[in-house]
């Protein structure tokens, strides 16, 4: 019965996505086309990666507000190394990912050692990493052309980009880590009841550190995806990415109190947000209108999900025995 409850959560999300697609298809004859699919698929990778990292941190009972700035910093490091220093692309890629991991470990270390709430620590890095991104690029956009173009190349026969497939693969791996691996159980345990986790011999500090490093790393990967799509490293990139990532996770049913969340559901949340953006753009909605509608849909999606799960619990209670 509890399995039924969980699959119903997921079905509901898929239904919501279906309703959105049907709605936009009805409003515009040209919405349901391969081109739209491509647009959505190519916009997704940065958000999908960022939301995956965010879901990890949320399940562990923390929050990472720095991912948008870390994404920008990673792009900036990449641009600076390649354009100003003449470093090769693979080395610069590693350096950018390293910068992300370093940011994550700084978050983890401060939360662990200073016993500060992750909200505050990562809020600090949201500012700090953005500043570093400006310093690294001298506040200039670094044009890179096709140097990271490989990520945008479409895979023959699928029509989807390499970046998209990498992001999907990342989400799947993360899903299995949470549901099928010992480390995932430890993340859930720490997020649910940190003191109980410590008293059965787990190390909440290590779990938290790992999760923040992971979040920094995938934020950097998200930044590189953005660089590759734009063909440039923009120190302003990724602004608000953390909030979209939180929105996707929350639409997917991840708890902000820790202990509960699903990578696949977060990914459907990402699809919902991306579909909404593409659909509204298709209808010619202005930027302000887009934001109002997106905000409303986020709140409605979470409210509808809460109502549905309450209703279903009552229904199961009445008929389930």
């Amino acid at each position: 019965m509890n399995t039924l409850r969980r699959s119903a959560d997921f079905l509901f999300l898929a239904l919501l996505l279906g309703v959105l697609i049907a709605f936009f298809s009805g409003m515009s004859d040209h919405f349901w086309s391969m081109q739209t699919v491509n647009t959505v698929a190519n916009r997704i990778p940065p958000l999908a990666l960022a939301a995956m990292g965010m879901t990890f941190v949320l399940i562990a009972g923390g929050i990472d507000l720095s991912i948008g700035s870390v994404a920008a910093l990673a792009g900036a490091v990449f641009g600076w190394l390649v354009v100003d220093r003449g470093v090769s692309v693979p080395v610069a890629t590693l350096a950018a990912l390293g910068a992300g991991a370093l940011c994550g470990s700084a978050n983890g270390a401060l939360v662990n050692w200073m016993r500060m709430p992750s909200f505050i620590v990562t809020l600090g890095l949201l500012e700090g990493a953005r500043g570093l991104a400006y310093l690294a690029t001298d506040s200039q956009t670094k044009y890179l052309g096709e140097r990271l173009g490989a990520l945008q190349a479409t895979v023959p026969g699928l029509g989807l980009s390499v970046a998209f497939l990498l992001a999907v693969a990342g989400v799947l791996v993360a899903h299995f880590v949470i549901t099928r691996m010992v480390f995932g159980r430890h993340v859930i345990a720490v997020g649910t009841n940190e003191e109980a986790a410590r008293l059965v011999g787990l190390s909440p500090g290590k779990v938290r550190m790992t999760v923040f490093v992971l979040s920094g790393l995938v934020a950097a990967a998200a930044g590189l995806c953005q660089v590759s799509r734009l063909g440039a490293a923009d120190p302003n990139a990724g602004a608000g990415l953390e909030l979209s990532a939180i929105a996707a996770a929350v639409i997917g049913g991840t708890s902000l109190m820790g202990g509960r969340g699903s990578m696949l559901a977060t990914f459907v949340g990402v699809l919902i947000i991306a579909t909404l953006e593409a659909g509204l753009a298709h209808l010619g909605a202005s930027e302000p209108v887009k934001r109002v509608v997106t905000g409303a849909v986020i709140v409605c999606a979470v409210a509808a999900e809460a109502a549905r799960s309450r209703w279903m619990a009552r229904w199961l209670n009445r008929s389930g025995n």
Binding site: M1, R185, I188, A197, V200, G201, S203, G259, G320
Partner: protein, 505 residues
């Protein structure tokens, strides 16, 4: 007897597939103390939650003084004069004692709290529960657990009530505090209030109550005079004859499991030395606040020690754990006192809780859980511990406290620990299931582990332990064998170490 104060007929309640109340009947007379006893999952807590408006019944009728009574919230129940003091503490630690007492009825003028009136009323309520010396403006978090419990009871009494429901009120109280409570309940009875009193402590019931109702499997078995012999009550609760007798013990092997030398931990533990041999169960008795919990936590590495040494097994080097993880690696198991805060992952599946300590991993794939083996291992563990549950995937919070406790203990079994530290292992567990836990602990000892068991229950220590040490004020003040243990000397030892305040040591 006239019309009953409270009458329930055919009450039914299910949580998921788990049928908790199966047509329960109950009658409580006006102005009586009515005790409610029964095993884990017998339906005591569920019944009291329904009466207090915390959970709706699925079927059945309740009347209060002859009028239909069905409430949807705690506030609605209180408006009808039915007040429940919760078993789990719900004091808000950052608010003052007075604010906690009157949180739902703060005296205010234009939205501004009238502090003078609040503190005056709080002082009256506190005097009722024997806490007259307590400053109402103190933050509630600064109080000990026993005092917090008394504050909760005072909060319940601060309102006019026809029926007062108490669920295990003395679990966290010292003997003196409990006596204050009993006196208070007798006064209430004299004033015409009915008290529904849930407890596992049968001696309290014979002392305090007028009548006792025995529940089993969600139904009323019998309502009897409280003077009914306890053997008969236990038998009614269990359904079969249960003897709460001493467990058989093997000769104690001489190899040490743990040696503690002059251990200090802050002000709570002040120079404790003791040893536990393999195959031996050593009890730790003492009053609330004597330092038993702190001693176990210091040995386990949950709290920092300030001085002293602990040696494991035949070791000659100090085992100084920096965190519980170190202790677990060395084969120490720990069962905490506060199950809800420190023991369980309440919203997570029963399976998750049962299997967490030893997750079966697929060979060749590092950290990849074999979920079939995990389910099989959890099922086996739950069967072995005789846990009542509906579904492996059901949240642990849906199980009764005693069944949760069985999992908290049982999940360590696959670790094959050589030293067990147990803090109040049967708190909130009914008499019949207690015996099961005692038998289990004895089997663990017979398999060669050493056990150190802290308990506030003298009978438990007497029934379970090979030796009993008494802590008082952070020091060992008594040491008894099975032969020398007796209530009078035990009590004397409990009060022996209480030094005058201001003692520099």
């Amino acid at each position: 007897m006239g019309e009953p104060r409270l009458k329930a007929t055919g009450l039914k309640k299910a949580f998921g597939q788990n049928l908790v109340l199966r047509g329960l009947d109950l009658e409580v007379a006006p102005g009586e103390i009515h005790a409610l006893i029964g095993g884990n999952g017998a339906g005591k807590s569920t019944l009291s939650k329904i009466l207090a408006g915390l959970a709706p019944a699925d079927a059945g009728i309740v009347t209060l003084d002859g009028e239909p009574y069905a409430v949807a919230s705690r506030q609605a129940a209180q408006a009808r004069g039915v007040v429940m003091v919760l078993q789990e503490l719900s004091v808000i630690p950052t608010l003052s004692v007075a604010e906690n007492l009157f949180l739902n009825a703060l005296p205010a003028r234009a939205g501004i709290v009238d502090r003078a009136r609040l503190h005056e009323r709080a002082a009256t309520a506190l005097r009722l529960v024997g806490l007259a010396s307590l400053e109402p403006s103190l933050p509630a978090g600064a109080l000990g657990v026993g005092q917090q419990q008394l504050v909760e009871i005072a909060a319940g009494l601060a309102q006019q009530c026809r029926v007062l429901i108490l669920d295990e009120p003395t679990a966290a109280l010292s003997g003196a505090e409990a006596n204050v409570l009993f006196g208070l309940l007798r006064e209430l009875r004299a004033a015409g209030t009915s008290v529904l009193y849930i407890s596992h402590r049968l001696e309290e019931i014979s002392q305090l109550a007028d009548r006792v109702s025995v529940l089993r499997d969600g139904q009323l078995v019998a309502t009897l005079p409280a003077a009914t012999p306890r053997a008969q009550l236990i038998q009614l609760m269990a359904g079969t004859t249960v003897q709460l007798g001493s467990t058989a013990r093997n000769s104690v092997k001489a190899r040490p499991a743990l040696r503690v030398l002059d251990l200090h931990a802050g002000q709570a533990v002040r120079g404790v030395s003791l040893d536990v041999s393999c195959g031996e169960i050593v009890g730790l008795g003492g009053l609330v606040g004597a330092g038993r919990t702190e001693l176990l936590r210091a040995i386990y590495g949950a709290d920092r020690r300030t001085a002293g040494r602990t040696l494991l097994g035949d070791d000659t080097v100090d085992f100084a754990p920096r965190a519980p993880a170190d202790a677990v690696r060395r084969g120490i198991a720990y069962v905490p006192e506060d199950r809800k805060q420190h023991g369980i992952f309440a919203p997570l599946a029963v399976r998750f809780n049962a299997a967490l300590m030893r997750l079966p991993v697929r060979r060749g794939l590092a950290g990849w859980i074999d979920r079939v083996a995990e389910r099989r291992a959890s099922t086996r563990l739950l069967e072995e511990m005789q846990v009542r549950y509906a579904d492996l995937e059901q949240p642990l919070a849906e199980l009764s406290g005693g069944n949760q406790q069985k999992i908290v203990i049982g999940r360590w079994l696959p670790c094959q620990a050589s030293l067990w530290l147990l803090d109040e292992p049967t708190r909130g567990v009914d008499v019949a299931a207690r015996q099961g836990i005692y038998d289990l602990l004895r089997r663990i000892a017979d398999a060669g582990a050493g056990l150190l068991v802290a308990s506030s229950d003298y009978e438990e220590l007497a029934a379970l332990c090979d030796r009993v040490l008494v802590l008082s004020h952070g020091q060992v003040t008594g040491s008894f064998t099975r032969e020398t243990l007796n209530p009078r000397d035990f009590m004397t030892a409990c009060f022996a170490g209480i030094a005058p305040t201001g003692d520099p040591n």
